[in-house]
Every structure is written in C-alpha cells, then in structure tokens.
C-alpha cells in the first residue's frame, strides 16, 4: 500500500471538490453525534433527549462546520499548489534528462530554433525601428506631409501655394515649410560643408520638439529681413563646438554670413532629415508672388487641428487648391494636394520590401517549428513504451501532455536564448550591410518591444511544436503497448500522417521562399545589366559651392570654375575633366518645362519638360555619354555668343518624333536676371538614368556652363590611375585656390552606381539567405521522416530482400516515398506562390512576379534536393541484412 501512496501523488494531483469537502465534514460530524446519541441512549436517555443533549454538549455546531470546511479547503488548495510546484520541478528535471539523453535530437532542434528565432528577432528589430516605432514628436499620428499633386505624381510645393494654404485652411493647427541644402561653415577650424535645413519659424513648435539648450525660433524670424539665427544639431554641437553651452549667443560664419547660434536641438530631432543645422526659410515677396507659383521647391508638413480628421483636411485642401487653380490657371492648372501621414511618407518606400522580409523570415520560423515538431513526433513514437509505463503507474493523460509540453518549453526557452544571441549579432550585421538610403535605420535596436516579440514568438513556437506530439501522445492508447514483447516500435498511422503533413508544409513554405528569392535574384541580375548611360570606370567627382558673399556675381563664379578646371587639368593623373550641375543617378532634379519656337502653345501641363543639366565642354567625353548626332559643347560656346543646347535621345523620342531637332530653338520658363534659359539645339547625346537604375529614363537638356555658370560646381574627372589619388590631389588644388572652400560629395562614379544597387542587393541577399535556410531545414525534415520510416520498416524491408527484391527496387521504393512528399509540397507551394507572388511586384525589375522560368527552376531544385535527402536513408535500407532484420524485434 505504502508504495502506491508514494507513486500516485507523483503523477496525479490531489484534487477534492468543494462539495466533497462539505460532504466529508458533514459525515464526520454526523458520525460523532450519532456515537454520542447512542452512548446517551445506552445510559438510559430517550432518543429525542439524547439528540438534544449531544448537540448541546458539542458546542457551536454551525460555527464548527464552517470552520472545518474553510480549514479543509485551505489545506486542499495549499497541497495542490505544492504538488504542482513539485511536479513542475520534476517535469523540468525529467525534461533535461530526456534532452541530454538524445544529444543529436537536442542539438538539431536547438540550432533550428535558434536560427529561426534569431533571424526573426533581427528582422523584426529592423521592421520595428523603421516601420513601426512612433516618430519622436508630440502626437506623431497627427503629423501630415502635404504634397502638391498633378497627374504625373506628387511634387514639392511653391511658397505662394504654401502661403495660401496657411492662410485659408482651418483643419490644421499649424503648417510649416522646409527645404534642405548644404552650407559652408568657416571660421573656427577647417572649412566644412554641412547639411542644413531651412524651416519655418514654427517648425520646432509644430513638431513639439524642445531644444536642449537656448531657444527655438521665434515667430517672425523667418521674415526675409530678420536677423540670421541658427539652431545646431546635437551632433554638430558636440563634434564642432565641443559641447560648450557657451556657444549660445555666439556668431558663426555660414556661407560667409555671420549667424547667431540660438539653440541646440535634441538628438531625436531629425526633421526634415538628419541635418547638422537649422536656419529659417526667408521667403521674399518675389518667392510668394503669383509669378513664382510654378516654382515648387519646398516641403510642407502640418499638424491636424484637435478635432479634424485627415479626410476632412484633405477635402478642405482640395477645395483650397481648386480655388487657387481657378485664380492662377497658368501655374496651377491640374494641381491639387495630397495628404500623407508623416511616418508613411518617411518609410513608405521601404515598407513593401521590409514586409516581404518579415514574411519570409516568418516562413523560416514556421519551417523550423514544423521541423522540430516532426523530430519530436518521431521521438514521441519511439518513447511510447515509456509513456505507457508511466500511464500504468498512474500518470493521467493531462500529466503526460504537460510533461511533453515542459520538454518543448525547455527546448524553446534554450533555443530562444541562443536565438537572442544570434539576433544581437544578426542585427549588427544587418545594420552594417544595410544601404544608407533605408530611412530611420538609426532607430533600430534590440529594445524592450523587440525582446517581448522574441519571448512571445518563443512561447508560440513551444506551443506549436509541443502540442502536436502532446496531442498524439494523449491520443495513444498507451496501455496496449505494454503487452509483452511489443516495445512500441510500430508507427501508428496517426503519427506518420502528422509527420508527412509537417514535411509537406515545410516544402510548401520553402518553395514559396525559393520563388521569392529566385524572382529577386533574376530581377537583380537584370538590374545589374541595366546600362546607366555612362561609363563610370575611373571617373570620380566632387562638389564645391561658392560663398555667395565672396563670389557674388556670375562673372566671379565663371572665373572660379575656369581656374578650378585648369588646376584639375594640371593633375598628372587626370586625362580629362569637366564641371557640371547635376550628375546622372544622383537623383538631383531640376525639371523645367519649355516652349519650342514655332509651335503653338501647348495646353497647361502638356508642355515639354526636361531635366536641365549645365555642363562644360568635355563633360560628355569625361563621363562617357555618347554623342549621337550633331556636336557636343566646345570652347566656342562663349558667354556672349549664340546659346547652344544639347538634348538627350529621350527628348527627341518624346518631343521631336520624326523631326530633326538640330537647329530648333527652345526656351525654358526659368530666368536668371531676366534672362530666359534658351538656345538652339546643336547635338543629341545618349540617355542616362537619373532616379535609379530601375526608373524610366527621363528627357534631358544640357546647357553650356560658360553661358549659365552656377555657384554649385560639381567636378568630374577621368583619371589614369587610382581615382582616390586624383581626388586627393583635387582637394589640395581646391584648398590652394580658396582655403575656405570645403570639398564635399567626393566619390567615384562606380561607387555611385553601386549605391544605386544597394537596396536591391540588400533585399536579394537577405531573401536568399532565408530561402537557403528554408531549404536546409526542409531537407533535414525530409531526411528525418524518410530515415525514420526506413528504421520503422527495417523488418519489412528485410523480408522483401529475403524474398528476392533487388536493392535497387528497395532504394527506388524509399526514394519514391520522399519524392511523393516533395511533389505534394512543390505543387501546393507553386499554387500558393502563384497566388501571392504579386506582393513582390514593386521590388521586381524586368521580371514578372509569375515568371515561369523561376517557378520551374525552383520546383526542379527542390525536387532534386528531396531525392538526395531520401537517397541517403534509402541506401541504408538497401544494405539491410535480411536475417538480422527479421530477427530484430519489429
């Protein structure tokens, strides 16, 4: 008896219901009273008298009844809790013992889980930092970016439109404008070029950003005649001014104008981007006049008024825009507005890619879980006799399930911790690989929400791969397996079906991932083949912007660029050099509309447009843009002479179809000192890519530098040797000409082309890694299932061989089984991929989302891999010794 009493509590919880407690207390008291009554009757009392005396002598019966009830219930509760704790400790100890006993299983499961959890956590940390985390401003969900909108897309805003919006709108509590550029900081230390933003005086207030030192801009400080004031970024304040609070009130020289430092912004202030300093916009009456309504160059954000919704604001803005359109159809015909939540505006461009990556890594996790579940199923089947013994000793079904779940949780927990380590390394790797044009990367960290995600994922994983074998085990009629001689080595059909289903699921998911990776790889190789339109090899570039104070006049700017170019030409390594405004692939946009002389005026918004570039003679040769017809610029295109223009092939295709453009006069709307940018077309050159390799080519028109010199001078040089050496010499040349002129944007054109491939390369790399991981996991899955089947069927295979089946047939039989599973997964996966691959469309270039070649190649690859994975256990099956196999218990 004693022994059973010891064992039972180990497997079963003491559990007595409240009603049973009550019943037992009643029984106990009734027994006492009956005994007492009997005693009194024996002593001669009448039954009624005896009952009364017994009750009277007992004391407060009702209170005692309640007291006993409460005490017993408290005892039950306490014992149950203690037993649970004991059991849990017991389960955990047992789980660890089990895991240690099968190191191969444990290591494979742990590595699988760690990879899955690590990859997911790393990607999620990026997704959270970039996409999900709130902007660090007050009530960030009420911040709106406001665009002007025409048929061909969204554009920046003209100061005049901005001014009208500000005056007329009521849905916003504030609107603010900004534009970004660069500025020379001279004076203390070496001259350096910094990123600046010019913002409306209310910008900081609108965002709810408090300066950490000094003050923000005051109302009116964005007037054209207000004193010049600047707010430093935290980074600039620390690096350039040593974090000295005394800098407030000091004057610094920005583009040679003294400017008073009034404040230091907090590090989280990154609007409109991570600039070094903020100045104020200074719209002149001319900027705000109707004549300049067509010049759209500022970015506008707004804060929704407390009661307003974005929809209300949008409809109000539509009405305002329509009114301006009626007032000034010349500039605003077809222009309305578009309101975009600020965060969406910042990260919208990378959202599809990041979501695809998150989904991909989620698939990897699912495959990992399926794999571990499948491994555990195999183990559960092998452990059926152990489970049966435990059942016989009194373990309930619930207890066994809990035991198996404990094992899963221990595995998941260990896997999760290893995964976290991987995630830490993975996140750092991701950040080092990520191209810098992915927004908000500075926000990526393994912070509390990310850790919470990891914990949640670990828990879900444990439940997922733990519950399948647990359910299987609980369904097992374990007692049957206790019969003598049967060690539970026969697979139950349920368990085999579950494992097959898991493997098919893995292959399905792996195929979908492979399709995704395959499509991106093909797209990437197409992208690499794109001709940027120029020859970047051995060409390097840098830019200087002349101080508006020292080089006030166009003549001074022209003279300096000539001196500079002469100096560059004297560098021994440099074969050819030129200056330009705007490089290909740089994204620099200076798009203007123009009239063609002798043509009737086109309707508004249908005028010919072009990206305008201003280049010196030798530019086309230096950068490697081929001359197609006519002539390039030469020294003959002098300031006073006839104005010459060169157009790109796309300009001809779009605006001069079937005509000879050479000799045609065109004139742009843009003027300088009343002088309209215009001239006669003298040549046609090849197209260059402007906004990235995958974007369509835009029409370009080139003007001659000497005829339209600018203060922003970009030098390009083709060198014989190392471009880095040429750049170093060029820097020295610039400094010798003007000590206060900082060189910036210095790089090789090859690195620029490379940068244009940065995001696609990053995505293709990650997706390929995930797909490879998925395939490896799926292979392990197939291998595991087939190897297990072979082991289970050893006796049957032995009999077959003994009966004369050839070893080839046995191999074929086993491989066929693996192939069937793979084919099921491939078919399901192809169908699923076909259905959803459209989500990749925005990431693809030159290849359709349902590209048949990719689908076929991927399916074939998985098929081959599946065959290989089954072939290894198949060969083992073929080597089975029939006699040994039949002797073995089976």
């Amino acid at each position: 008896m004693k022994r059973i009493r010891d064992i039972r509590p180990a497997f079963r919880l003491p559990w007595v219901s409240a009603s049973r407690v009550r019943r037992e207390v009643d029984d106990e008291l009734r027994f006492h009273l009956d005994m007492k009554v009997q005693e009194l009757i024996d002593a001669g009392a009448s039954p009624a008298e005896a009952e009364n005396r017994a009750r009277a002598e007992f004391g407060d019966l009702e209170y005692t009844r309640r007291y006993l009830n409460d005490t017993d219930r408290a005892r039950m509760h306490h014992e149950r809790r203690a037993a649970l704790g004991d059991e849990l400790r017991q389960d955990i100890r047992f789980a660890f013992r089990q895991l240690r006993r099968s190191p191969a299983f444990t290591i494979i499961a742990l590595v699988t889980l760690a990879l899955g959890i690590g990859a997911n956590t790393a990607i999620f940390s990026v997704v959270r930092g970039v996409l999900l985390s709130e902007l660090p401003y007050a009530e960030p969900n009420r911040l709106i970016r406001v665009y002007s909108k025409v048929e061909r897309g969204m554009t920046s805003v003209s100061p005049a439109d901005f001014n009208d919006w500000r005056r007329q709108s009521t849905s916003f509590s504030a609107l603010a404008a900004s534009d970004e550029s660069t500025v020379n900081l001279t004076g203390n230390g070496t001259a350096e070029r910094f990123a600046q933003a010019r913002v409306s005086a209310n910008m900081f207030q609108l965002l709810g950003v408090r300066v950490v030192l000094g003050r923000a801009f005051a109302p009116g400080e964005d007037a054209p005649d207000a004193p010049r004031v600047v707010i430093l970024s935290d980074g600039l304040w620390r690096s350039r001014f040593g974090g000295d609070p005394g800098v407030i009130g000091k004057s610094i020289r920005l583009d040679d104008s003294p400017t008073e430092v009034i404040g230091v912004a907090p590090p989280e202030m990154r609007y409109p981007s991570s600039v070094d300093l903020w100045l104020t916009t200074r719209f002149t009456p001319k900027d705000l006049s109707d004549a300049n309504r067509g010049a759209r160059w500022i970015d506008v954000i707004a804060r929704l008024a407390p009661a307003a919704t974005r929809e209300q604001a949008q409809s109000e803005m539509n009405a305002i825009a329509r009114q301006i359109e009626l007032q000034d159809p010349k500039h605003n015909a077809g222009y309305s507005t578009r309101l975009v939540p600020l965060r969406d505006d910042m990260v919208g461009s990378v959202r599809p890619a990041l979501i695809v990556l998150l989904a991909a890594v989620g698939f990897v996790m699912l495959i990992a879980c399926a794999n571990v579940a499948s491994l555990m199923l195999g183990r559960t089947a092998a452990r059926e006799s152990e489970l049966a013994v435990r059942t016989a000793l009194g373990a309930g079904r619930g207890r066994l399930v809990r035991q198996l779940l404990t094992e899963s949780c221990c595995l998941a927990l260990a896997g999760g911790m290893m995964g976290l380590g991987l995630a830490y390394a993975g996140t750092r790797l991701l950040l080092s690989l990520a191209p810098s044009d992915i927004p908000r990367l500075y926000n990526v960290a393994l912070d509390a929400p990310v850790l919470l995600f990891t914990v949640a994922m670990t828990a879900v994983a444990a439940l997922f791969f733990g519950s399948i074998p647990a359910l299987q085990a609980s369904a097992a009629q374990a007692v049957l397996h206790l019969r003598a001689g049967d060690r539970g080595s026969r697979t139950r059909p349920g368990s085999a079906r579950a494992r097959n289903a898991l493997v098919v699921t893995e292959i399905t998911l792996a195929l979908m991932l492979l399709v995704g990776a395959g499509l991106l790889i093909r797209s990437f190789s197409r992208l690499r083949e794109v001709d940027p339109g120029f020859a970047p090899a051995r060409v390097s570039t840098f830019t200087v912007t002349l101080s508006p104070v020292k080089y006030e006049t166009v003549e001074q700017q022209r003279a300096f660029s000539k001196t500079l170019l002469d100096a560059i030409h004297r560098i021994p390594d440099v074969d050819s050099a030129a200056v330009t405004f705007g490089l290909p692939l740089s994204g620099t946009s200076f798009q203007l509309s123009y009239d063609v002389e002798g043509r009737p005026a086109p309707p508004p918004n249908a005028e010919p447009r072009a990206q305008v570039r201003i280049v010196s003679p030798g530019y086309f040769a230096t950068v490697g843009i081929p001359l197609v017809r006519g002539r390039a610029f030469s020294d003959a295109d002098r300031p006073g002479g006839p104005r010459a223009l060169v157009v790109s092939q796309e300009t001809v295709r779009r605006y001069f179809p079937g005509e000879d453009p050479i000799g045609k006069h065109i004139a742009f709307g843009w003027r300088r000192d009343g002088d309209r940018l215009s001239g006669a077309i003298v040549g046609v050159v090849g197209d260059v890519r402007q906004h990235g390799l995958s974007a369509a080519v835009t029409p370009h028109v080139y003007a001659a530098w000497d005829q339209w010199p600018l203060d922003e001078i970009t030098v390009v040089m083709r060198s014989r040797g190392d471009p880095a050496v040429a750049l170093r010499d060029a820097r020295a040349a610039v400094t010798s000409l003007d000590r206060d002129l900082p060189v910036y944007d210095a790089f090789t054109l090859e690195s620029m082309v490379d940068r244009a491939l940065g995001q696609p390369r990053f995505y293709v790399l990650l997706l390929t890694i995930f797909a490879a991981l998925a395939v490896v996991l799926a292979v392990v899955g197939i291998y595991g299932v087939i190897a297990y089947t072979v082991q289970q069927r050893t006796r049957e295979i032995g009999i077959r061989i003994a009966l004369g089946a050839s070893r080839e047939r046995v191999v074929g039989m086993v491989v066929r089984r693996g192939l069937m599973l793979a084919l099921a997964g491939i078919m399901l996966g192809s169908a699923a991929a076909y259905a959803v691959s459209r989500v990749l469309q925005s990431l693809l270039y030159g290849v359709g989302a349902r590209d048949p070649i990719t689908f076929i190649a991927v399916a074939a690859l998985l098929g081959v891999v599946a065959v290989l994975a089954s072939w290894v256990p198949a060969r083992r099956a073929a080597r089975v010794d029939p006699l040994a196999a039949m002797r073995a218990e089976g």
């Binding site: 006492h32 009956d34 005994m35 005692t64 006993l68 408290a74 005892r75």
Partner: protein, 105 residues
C-alpha cells in the same frame, strides 16, 4: 477544569501516538485518561483536529468504525511525532519550573 490555552493540541497528538483514532474516540479517550477532570468541548476538538491536519501534524483517512460505520480516522505524521516529542519536553520543563516556584513558598 477547563483546558489551558494550547494544551488541547498536545493532548490530541499524545492521544494519537497510540494509534489511528476517529474524533469521537479521541474525545472519549481524553475524558477517560484524565478521569473526567479535563472537559474538552467537542467543537474545539474538531477545530483542533482539522487545524492540526492543515499544519501537516496529523493526516486523515476514511475507515470503518467498531460498529461498522464510515468514520474519519486520524493518525500522526512524521512531523506530528517529532512535534509531540518537542512539546512534551517543553511541557515537562514548564511544569517543573512552576512546581519549583510553588513548592519553595
């Protein structure tokens, strides 16, 4: 004579040291052993029994009584046994100390 505070528990433990008993038997046993000097109220006895069970000093099991009825039998646990030993020596010291004082007078 009424019981001194805290005496009941130790009396119960001592009673049970002779073997498993149900509540009625314990009550009778105490009465007989003290020659009816100590009266234990039944209500207090049962409250003490359940309290001791909760403390883990005794445990209970349903069994059959002498007249073939279902009765709840209590018996000492290991902890109960050592508790009894400890309290017995404590009582002895206490009683000796009190006697010493009373007899010197």
């Amino acid at each position: 004579m009424d019981l001194l505070q805290g005496t009941l528990d130790v009396l119960i433990l001592k009673t049970l040291s002779w073997g498993a008993m149900h509540g009625y038997a314990i009550s009778r046993w105490i009465r007989q052993r003290t020659d009816d000097v100590l009266t234990v109220e039944d209500a207090a006895l049962y409250q003490a029994l359940h309290r001791l069970e909760r403390k883990g000093l005794i445990e209970s099991e349903w069994g059959l009584s002498e007249n073939n009825r279902r009765a709840k039998y209590y018996q000492l646990t290991q902890t109960g046994r050592s508790q009894l030993r400890a309290e017995t020596s404590e009582w002895r010291q206490y009683a000796e100390a009190v006697f010493k004082v009373l007899e010197t007078a």
